[in-house]
Symmetry: C2
Subunit: 207 residues, 2 copies
DNA sequence: AATGTAAACGGACTGCGGTCCGTTTCTTAT
DNA sequence: ATAAGAAACGGACCGCAGTCCGTTTACATT
């Protein structure tokens, strides 16, 4: 399964291949930090994790945390990495109707349903990752979904600016909105999925 | 023209009527602060305004700034108040096709076009207001657009969960996405408006 | 005018994300 | 083994949003 790298190895540069021999102490600290971060999220929720408390828990300096993950958002992205990769694998290579083999509209519908459930499980982390990320639309994972949606729209025969249309559909599934609907207004996941189905069906058929 | 109060008089309580006799010094400081805030935004942009610099410029203490506006977001909302009220007035009471009198689909299309232009003019403030506002969907203005879109959808004969559908359309027009499209990807306002037209047309006709 | 009191004031203080830079540790070459 | 250089480390430090609470000010009542 192909993996899109979510955390650049060097904070500054563009996404390099992740392997390239990391120094022993760096690797150890990364493991320490990820473990400590998961513990803290478990105990206090994503919002309850502070970079200082994480450093303390892992027994490293605060500078090390930022050297490793770049920012709070980067850390959250790292914590999400596996879940994100799983989701990507499912819609790109998994079984239909989510994966290839089903008609595009069916894949679109399945994509939304899958994403909604994903958000309900990992949304708090995703929200924390998005917050204070000026570039949430340019994160590799976001670009990938966008392209995927755009491709499905094209396959479904949508010729009217599929790039923007994919963007419109994409924001519809963002954690912020989904969690707000569910938590504040008590909307059920099924109702959200049904609404998504209506939306993409109309977008595809309306052409 | 009816005005929806955007800034609660008392930070804690729900939106009370704005009149209710404000103490003379409070009123003076509010005017001072708003004027200073506009100057600072003019000079350094919304992101360049800090609450401390605002307090200094207005010649008041920092506590006063927070007492008056509650938070940075509240201040930005206050700065947007007039622009927001103008927009509200236009889509609720203005001339068609934006205001009442035109068929619902035409009003929906006009709503998007108007909002896009609005965001291009005031978007930076709106973005600053949204950022770090955990409740951006519950801000009075947002609730109002949501209801408006929902109503238009119903009038247009959309029976499939108009509330959620209105929410989906609504996030599509958020400053974050619009500004990102324009500034990072060079999308023209016209192209955005056209895409919105396609979207709402399909949503309405697809039923 | 004097007085009581509720409201507003102001700035020191806290907590957080993020940066900086002198110090330490790993790795490689000799 | 050792020395040199690169990379990682760590915690003091900064700027900012937001809070707290002792002090001041405006208004109403007499």
């Amino acid at each position: 399964m192909t993996r899109v790298s979510l955390i650049p190895v060097r904070p500054g540069g563009p996404g390099e291949p992740a392997a390239e021999s990391e120094r022993r102490d760096a690797a150890r600290n990364r493991a320490l930090l990820l473990r400590a971060a998961r513990e803290l999220v478990e105990e206090a929720g994503a919002d309850g994790l502070t970079m200082a408390s994480l450093a303390a828990r892992a027994g490293v300096g605060k500078g090390t945390v930022f050297r490793r993950f770049g920012s709070r958002g980067g850390l959250m992205l790292a914590l999400l990495s596996d879940a994100e990769a799983g989701f990507q694998g499912r819609f790109m290579f998994g079984p239909p109707p989510l994966g290839p083999g089903a008609p595009p509209l069916a894949r679109l519908i399945a994509f939304g349903a899958e994403r909604i459930n994903w958000v309900l499980e990992y949304g708090e982390l995703a929200r924390a990752a998005d917050a204070s990320a000026h570039n949430r639309f340019d994160v590799p994972a976001a670009v990938l979904w966008h392209r995927h949606l755009e491709m499905l729209l094209r396959e479904a025969g949508v010729t009217a600016d599929p790039w923007l249309m994919a963007g419109a559909l994409s924001v519809t599934l963002e954690p912020e909105r989904i969690l707000h609907s569910v938590r504040v207004h008590g909307v059920s996941p099924e109702r959200l999925a049904e609404s998504w189905r209506e939306l993409v069906t109309r977008v595809v058929r309306g052409g």
